[in-house]
C-alpha cells in the first residue's frame, strides 16, 4: 500500500472519522479548517499517528504545519524522511 493510501486509512481510523471513506479524501484537500475539518488537537494527534505508523518524528509544530496542509504534502514529508 502506498504512503497516501495508508495515510488516509490511519487518519480515518485513529481520528475516528467514521463517516468518511478513503476515496472521499482528495490528495489536495485541505486537512485543517475547511476541507477535512481537523483542528489543533487533531494536529498533535497526527504527530503521534505519523510516529506510530511510519516511524517519522516531527519535533515541533513549526516543522509540522507546512507538512500538514494536504495528503500530498504529508506524504512527501514522510517519504523524504523514510528515504
Amino acid at each position: 500500500m502506498g504512503v497516501k493510501e495508508k495515510l488516509k486509512q490511519v487518519l480515518i481510523e485513529d481520528l475516528n472519522l467514521e463517516d468518511v471513506e478513503p476515496d472521499e479524501i482528495d490528495d489536495d484537500m485541505a486537512l485543517f479548517g475547511e476541507g477535512l475539518g481537523l483542528d489543533s488537537l487533531d494536529a498533535v494527534e497526527l504527530v503521534v499517528i505519523i510516529q506510530k505508523h511510519f516511524g517519522v518524528e516531527i519535533k515541533d509544530m513549526e516543522e509540522g504545519r507546512p507538512a500538514f496542509q494536504t495528503i500530498n504534502t504529508l506524504a512527501k514529508y514522510i517519504e523524504e524522511r523514510l528515504a
Binding site: 487533531d42 494527534e45 503521534v48 506510530k52
Partner: protein
C-alpha cells in the same frame, strides 16, 4: 436557597430518560446483566448511550468518549424534559460530579504509551482523561459560558457539588445550573472489585442487609436542570444540603421525612447506615441501578419522582419491615442520605 428541579435526564441499566426510571420504580425490577467477561461470574448494571444521534450528528461526537457520551445524553434528555433544548445558555452554569471520572479513557491514555512508547502518548486521550473534559464538552456543545465546576469526591461527589451549585444560584452568578452526576465502569474496576470482594458480584443487590457485601457494580448518569426557587417547579425543590462526618458529629436525621438511603450493598457503608438509622424505616433503590458513587444523583431523581407522583415507590428489595407495595406519599419532604466509607455524609432534603 431552594433550587427548583425543572428537568431530569437519566441513563442507566433501566434505560434512558425519566420515564424509563419511573417504569423501573413501578415494576421494582432491576436489570443487571452478566459481565461481558466470561471469566467473571459477576453481574453489571450497564448503561447505554443509544439515542445520542437524536441530538448530535455523528461527526460531532468522534472524539467524545463513553463517559462524555453518557454525560451528553443525559444532559440533552434533561434539557428536552425542561423544554430548553433551544434556550440561550450564556447564564447557565455546568456542574458535574463523578466518583472516579472517565476511567476507560484514563487507561486508554496509559495504553498509548505503555504499548507504543512515550513518543506515541495520545494527546486526544490525555485531554479527554482530564476530569473536567465532560463538563467542557457540555459547555461547548450547549454554548454554556457561565462557570463550570467538576468535583471528584468518591461517594460525596454529588452532594458536595450540589452545595456549590446552590451557592452559584444564590449569588446570582448563574440563572440556571445543568447539574450532572456520572460514573462509568471499566475492566480495571472490575478486576479491583474482584480482588476486594472475592466472591464476584453475583447479586442480588440487597441494600438493607447492612452487615453483608451484596454490591453489584453499575454505571449511569443523572442530569438536572436547576433554577432558583419558583412557584411551581416541574418536579420538586431541593431545600437544603448538609455535609459532615458522622464519626465526628453524628448526623441528625429529620424525623418526619421519607428517607432514601444511598445504601448500595457495600458493607463498609452499610454499618454507617445501620448506625444512623437505628431502626427508623427507610427506602433504597440501588437494586434498580447498581452500585457506583454517582448513583447518589439517581437517588435524588427518584426522590423528585416520588414527590411529583405523590407516591412512595416500594423498595425493589423489600424487607419484612418495609412496604411491599407502592403507597401514597404521606410526608411533605424526602431526605436522601449518602455515606462514604470514612463516615462522611451528604443529607439532601427535597420537597414540593
Amino acid at each position: 436557597m431552594r433550587m427548583a428541579i425543572q428537568g431530569i435526564g437519566v441513563t442507566g441499566a433501566f434505560g434512558a430518560g425519566v420515564e424509563s426510571l419511573r417504569n423501573a420504580l413501578k415494576s421494582g425490577a432491576g436489570s443487571p446483566k452478566p459481565s461481558s467477561d466470561t471469566s467473571d461470574a459477576g453481574l453489571f448494571y450497564q448503561a447505554s448511550v443509544e439515542g445520542l444521534d437524536e441530538f448530535f450528528p455523528k461527526r460531532a461526537l468522534r472524539r467524545i468518549d463513553y463517559f462524555s457520551k453518557m454525560t451528553l445524553l443525559s444532559a440533552c434528555l434533561a434539557l428536552k424534559d425542561a423544554n430548553q433544548l433551544d434556550a440561550d445558555r450564556s447564564r447557565t452554569g455546568v456542574v458535574i460530579a463523578s466518583g472516579y471520572g472517565a476511567l476507560k479513557t484514563t487507561f486508554d491514555f496509559l495504553d498509548s504509551y505503555l504499548d507504543f512508547g512515550y513518543a506515541c502518548s495520545s494527546p486526544t486521550h490525555f485531554s479527554n482523561s482530564v476530569h473536567n473534559a465532560a463538563a467542557a464538552h457540555v459547555s461547548i456543545q450547549f454554548k454554556a459560558t457561565a462557570p463550570s465546576l467538576t468535583v471528584t469526591q468518591f461517594e460525596m461527589s454529588a452532594p458536595s457539588a450540589l452545595l456549590s451549585a446552590q451557592q452559584w444560584l444564590a449569588e446570582g452568578r448563574v440563572d440556571q445550573v445543568l447539574f450532572g452526576a456520572i460514573d462509568e465502569h471499566c475492566d480495571v474496576l472490575r478486576y479491583c472489585r474482584q480482588q476486594f470482594f472475592a466472591a464476584g458480584e453475583q447479586g442480588p443487590l440487597q441494600p438493607f442487609l447492612f452487615e453483608q457485601q451484596t454490591a453489584v457494580v453499575g454505571e449511569g448518569a443523572t442530569f438536572f436542570v436547576l433554577t432558583p426557587e419558583t412557584e411551581s417547579a416541574k418536579y420538586a425543590h431541593i431545600d437544603g444540603l448538609k455535609l459532615g462526618n458522622h464519626l465526628v458529629c453524628p448526623v441528625q436525621l429529620p424525623q418526619k421525612d421519607l428517607l432514601i438511603l444511598g445504601a448500595d450493598g457495600h458493607k463498609e457503608c452499610g454499618r454507617l447506615y445501620a448506625k444512623a438509622l437505628k431502626s427508623k424505616e427507610a427506602a433504597a433503590y440501588a437494586p434498580l441501578y447498581g452500585s457506583f458513587p454517582a448513583a447518589a444523583g439517581l437517588d435524588l431523581a427518584v426522590a423528585a419522582l416520588c414527590l411529583q407522583d405523590r407516591t412512595r415507590y416500594a423498595n425493589p428489595e423489600a424487607t419484612s419491615t418495609t412496604p411491599q407495595a407502592h403507597q401514597t406519599l404521606e410526608t411533605e419532604k424526602i431526605s436522601c442520605l449518602k455515606f462514604g466509607p470514612g463516615g462522611d455524609y451528604g443529607l439532601t432534603q427535597l420537597s414540593v
